[in-house]
């Protein structure tokens, strides 16, 4: 029972960053900008929000109002991620540079910047930022008695405010993309920017907006990842930005499919990590270090699904192509 609760809660907590970041990538690509810089954006968001949490902890505000501090940390993560992403927007929209190259530069910049800044702030050799223990939502936070029920086990094992926000942001993202004027215009820029331009939609502004939103969600996703991964930020998000990119393609650039894809991937990932303690899984007793088989699983399964669904996959038509007003 408790292992099942563990698995479910771990799945959700690992799914959140994938979901948020993949949704972010979706907004960017739907506006026509390939965002390979998600990894870097996550790192910047995580870096700044973790520093903010440290500051909140040191000032005493965090311990007194943990969830308010968390709320502000999420804002910091989103805003810093968004500001960082503007570097990509500038390169790919204004300068019409190759989007892959710009993204690669940012991916390289972010972890280096994180380490340099962490050093500068915390002193020599101090490259990890500890996350305060009060960041997690516990029974205590909500003022309910601790019980050993399945619900509580699964709910409070690793419950952070980011999870709640992720649910909200997912709904908002889906509604914005399909039900609003902004969403319609954004999508038109990723499909046929010339058409959008001809009816007075400002393609540059829309692409900036798409990238900005990807930075916002990517930054929050970076914080969510750090919370999920352990007790400290270590200037890396371990390739999760790239995984989110894969999840986005897997999810066919659609919110609901991305939700499914991130759940699918997280589930297999957690199955891999918990393979030892799940009774019904084969154990491969004659193979040493067989946990690696399970760790490999999510990637292999995703690959197979991608091959099977490749026919239906449809990327935004104009993604990756700089829009030039002069050439039509």
């Amino acid at each position: 029972m408790s292992i099942l609760a563990d698995i479910v809660s771990a799945t959700i907590v690992f799914m959140i960053p994938l979901l948020l970041v993949a949704l972010g990538g979706m907004f960017s690509e739907r506006s026509g900008v390939v965002n390979i810089a998600l990894e870097g954006i996550m790192i910047i968001g995580a870096l700044c929000s973790c520093l903010f949490l440290r500051y909140m902890d040191a000032s005493g505000f965090g311990a007194a109002h943990p969830q308010w501090a968390m709320f502000f940390a999420i804002l910091v993560a989103g805003l810093t991620g968004a500001i960082f992403s503007l570097l990509l927007a500038f390169a790919s929209v204004n300068l019409k540079a190759d989007q892959t190259i710009g993204g690669t530069a940012l991916n390289m910049l972010a972890p280096a910047f994180a380490i340099v800044l962490t050093w500068a702030i915390q002193g020599q050799g101090q490259t990890t930022i500890l996350i305060p223990t009060w960041a997690r939502i516990t029974q205590e936070t909500l003022g309910i008695p601790v019980r050993d029920t399945f619900l509580q086990l699964f709910l409070f094992k690793s419950f952070y405010q980011t999870t709640i926000w992720a649910v909200f942001l997912f709904i908002i993202a889906a509604v914005v993309l399909y039900k609003t004027r902004f969403g319609l215009r954004l999508r038109s820029c990723g499909e046929h920017p010339q058409a959008a331009d001809s009816v007075g939609v400002n393609v540059y502004r829309m692409r900036y907006a798409g990238v900005f939103i990807s930075g916002l969600l990517g930054g929050i996703g970076g914080l969510a990842y750090t919370l999920a991964a352990g007790s400290a930020f270590q200037s890396t998000v371990a390739g999760y930005g790239f995984l989110a990119l894969a999840v986005m393609i897997f999810g066919n650039w659609k919110p609901l499919n991305i939700l499914g894809a991130s759940l699918f991937f997280a589930l297999f990932k957690i199955l891999g990590s918990y393979s030892g303690s799940i009774p019904f899984l084969p154990k491969f007793d004659n193979i040493k270090a067989s946990e690696y088989i399970y760790l490999m699983l999510p990637y292999v399964v995703t690959m197979i699904v991608l091959i099977l669904t490749s026919k239906k996959s449809r990327a935004p038509k104009a993604e990756g192509i700089p829009y030039d007003k002069g050439r039509r």
């Binding site: 490259t127 690696y292 690959m303």
Partner: protein, 381 residues
């Protein structure tokens, strides 16, 4: 003089070198500013060691060459794929598999170094098949396949090494549980020959790997610019439809390009680990070495010969960055490199726009001249 200057700007190779040099200059200035912001007192000294350490002594220079060799290979890997219109972000996985093949040959099967290097090449090529094949057969984006196969490579290699009895250091009396055997103990014959260069340059790091890498770069250059195969690969990269129209087997070329690209990355892994100065550690993180090929290739604008120089430059300032410690953290180097790439992205663009604009104007002038000529002819009639 002025005329000459303009002509040198017209040669595309010349302008991209100029663009890269300007980007490097700006990147270094950013680095200098950053050093001053972080620690004004130590900044000047650190910057000097950043830009001079590599040439300061023969052993430092040996370190530069030692690090440059695998960088050249991963840079070639990424650049070669770029030329065919593919983004090989999977150089890391191919590098990992190449390393594993080389080490298994060296330790488990006690093979000589050149066979191990060949195995590294085969391993990398093998791992390059997947993104190529999936793209050609199922039209799955090579970026996503590469990302997935990076992770699969890491776990598969960890699994394999754990299950081969002789691979780990402890079999050979080493203390650590988590890494492969020290080659000097396990099979000195698998070490890449040093040919006395180590004595000459007073460095354990020095071997012939840099020359091997340069040979590969030249081979890549010959393939791309001199052969019909390279002509086909580039045609596929620039315009897939036109290459199909011309009867070029585009799918086969996608696979081949990724295989060759993977082979380069695999050799990079082989060169690094067969030097004997590093041991493969069973990590749960991807090796950074493969990713470092991306900036190297970008800085060289995917030109194989340029890759030699850009890898040398990256390695050079990395050695310089190590020398800035402990006053500064060496990741400042990565910031400098990322600034350089960011700038190179649009320095390249500016150059292209300049030359395109110029060509368009020339073309228009020509067109106008032709039109006049035709009109004149008509009047004569």
């Amino acid at each position: 003089m002025g005329e000459q200057k303009r002509r040198s700007l017209r040669i595309p190779g010349g302008t991209s070198i100029l663009a890269s040099l300007i980007s490097i200059g700006v990147g270094l200035i950013v680095g200098l500013v950053l050093l001053y912001v972080l620690n004004a007192k130590a900044a000047g000294g650190a910057f000097v060691s950043l830009i001079t350490t590599g040439f300061r002594s023969s052993d430092k220079f040996a370190k530069v060459l030692y690090q440059a060799a695998p960088l050249i290979m991963t840079g070639l890997s990424v650049g070669f794929a770029f030329k065919t219109g593919l983004f090989n972000i999977g150089a890391t996985g191919q590098y990992t598999v190449g390393s594993a093949f080389a080490l298994i040959g060296a330790i488990q099967f006690q093979l000589p170094w050149y066979i191990c290097l060949l195995l590294a090449l085969i391993g990398g090529a093998f791992w390059g098949i997947f993104p190529g094949l999936f793209k050609a057969l199922f039209n799955v984006n090579e970026v996503i396949t590469s990302i997935m196969f990076n992770w699969i490579a890491m776990f598969a290699v960890n699994l394999t090494i754990n299950n081969l009895p002789m691979m780990l250091a402890k079999y050979w009396g080493g203390a650590q549980m988590d890494r492969t055997a020290n080659l000097a103990q396990a099979n000195p014959g698998a070490l890449i020959p040093r040919l006395g260069l180590d004595v000459l340059m007073k460095s354990n790091y020095m071997n012939i790997s840099i020359f091997i890498a340069i040979v590969f770069a030249i081979v890549a250059w010959i393939i791309l610019s001199k052969t019909t195969f390279g002509y086909e690969l580039k045609a596929c990269g620039y315009n897939r439809n036109a290459s199909i129209y011309a009867g070029i087997n585009a799918k086969r070329n996608i696979v081949l390009s990724m295989v060759i690209s993977g082979a380069f990355a695999g050799v990079g892994g082989g060169l690094y680990f067969l030097a004997g100065t590093g041991q493969y550690t069973l990590l749960k993180q991807l090796l950074a070495a493969g990713f470092n090929g991306i900036p190297v290739a970008l800085l060289a604008t995917s030109n194989p010969i340029g890759t030699i120089f850009s890898a040398f430059f990256v390695s050079y300032i990395q050695v310089g960055g190590d020398a800035m410690q402990p006053d500064f953290v060496k990741e400042i180097i990565d910031i400098i490199i990322s600034v350089i790439i960011y700038l190179a992205a649009f320095a390249l663009l500016t150059r292209e726009l300049l030359s395109r604009g110029k060509q368009r104007r020339e073309d228009a002038a020509l067109e106008a001249a032709t039109a006049h000529a035709t009109e004149a002819k008509d009047e004569v009639k």
